[in-house]
Symmetry: D2
């Protein structure tokens, strides 16, 4: 299942080329990821409250067409892979049906102290059902 997020481009996110500065797409991905969890029945914030962090260990994006100020973007987020120790999300960004960018992020669940850990079973279950 893919979750769908709607994001309006902020002025601060553009650069002097007139485009959305490339690294801001990773903020859009973050919103997509948060919405994915929300649709699975919990929030990433709750996960952190249970001492499970999900730092990004890898991220990547291909930019096909620029996004502009005030554009309404659609972000589709999919859980591409999940194992005990790793998650991989993939993302697609569209404007009015035109694909602008696609990318992925990899996450390793850790304790607040930075040690790899497992996602609590009830969250894992919800994420897997969502998939």
């Amino acid at each position: 299942m893919k979750s769908r997020s709607i994001i309006r481009v902020r002025y601060a996110e553009t650069d002097r080329m007139g485009f959305v500065y490339h690294s801001n797409f990773f903020l859009y991905f973050e919103i997509g990821r948060a919405d994915y969890f929300r649709e699975a029945g919990f929030t990433y914030r709750q996960l952190e409250e249970e001492q499970v962090y999900m730092p990004v260990t890898e991220c990547s994006c291909r930019f096909l067409r620029p996004a502009f100020y005030d554009d309404e973007l659609e972000v589709f987020t999919e859980l591409e892979m999940i194992s005990r120790l790793k998650l991989k999300f993939s993302y697609e960004v569209f404007r009015s049906g035109t694909r602008l960018a696609e990318g992925f992020t990899v996450h390793v669940p850790t304790t607040p102290g930075g040690k790899p850990c497992r996602i609590p079973a009830r969250y894992l279950e919800r994420i897997s059902n969502q998939r």
Copy 2:
């Protein structure tokens, strides 16, 4: 005493007007403040390691002329006021002698839990000497 910081404008800090997006000047002020402490003989990071945080309770900036990508900016930082429970820094930003912006930030020292606290005496002394 005023401390002096040199900052080169990043592409990501510009917006589609071609100017530095206004809120980024507060990031330049943050660098000015960090350098002010550094010249006083310690780092803001050390202060936090001693459980003293300095959240911003007020900030303000007037923009006189735009800053552009790759500009080399000079930030002058001055401790305008210090009391047991409050600090006020003022800042001026120049490019080649031309004043671009001026502003201030007010800070209240707190514990990590958010309760107002005092700055440890040895830091206060260094800051006051620096002044």
Copy 3:
């Protein structure tokens, strides 16, 4: 009239204190301003397409309480003053009825080349009606 915007705090907007980094409130103000124009019947983007820019010449914010990751914030935006050559917007940020911050921005309409100019009459009218 006040316009109302709903904003969810992004992870990228927090800092290691766990709070929303102060300068990000100016991005929330920008969203409030854009929504204010939208409710008046046009977009800031349209204004720029007609060669009218509204750079910020002054901005200020007081922070009363911290905002946190994933908070749903309400931003109320009001046009405090408008003259031929200047606009002043004021903003209030709330979370579940608790006031977190309040501030203002001042804008001077300019041509893309940076010369002060007037806001076209039909936009001015809509803004004034909205008020």
Copy 4:
């Protein structure tokens, strides 16, 4: 040849995990790229003044260890590939000799209007010599 940039982590770049938020590494890469050009004898700003833009068409980063507030980071930038229509830079980020992250960006030279174009010969020569 690798160019070397020194970057101090800003408070605004950290997130509530206490780490540098992942997408900010692409801002560090941008600084690395700008310094690479500078060492080759020109600035990216000059290139844009000659109507040659270099939007990012792909970017990627692997994060090995977190970076923290006030860390002094070293970024090494290398031109991995250059052809008439594409450049690829690779980057490594270190703190005191420990590798924190590595990544790459791909760029396609375009006109301000967004059409693919060639890098002017005298710039291409300098970049190639630098390599």
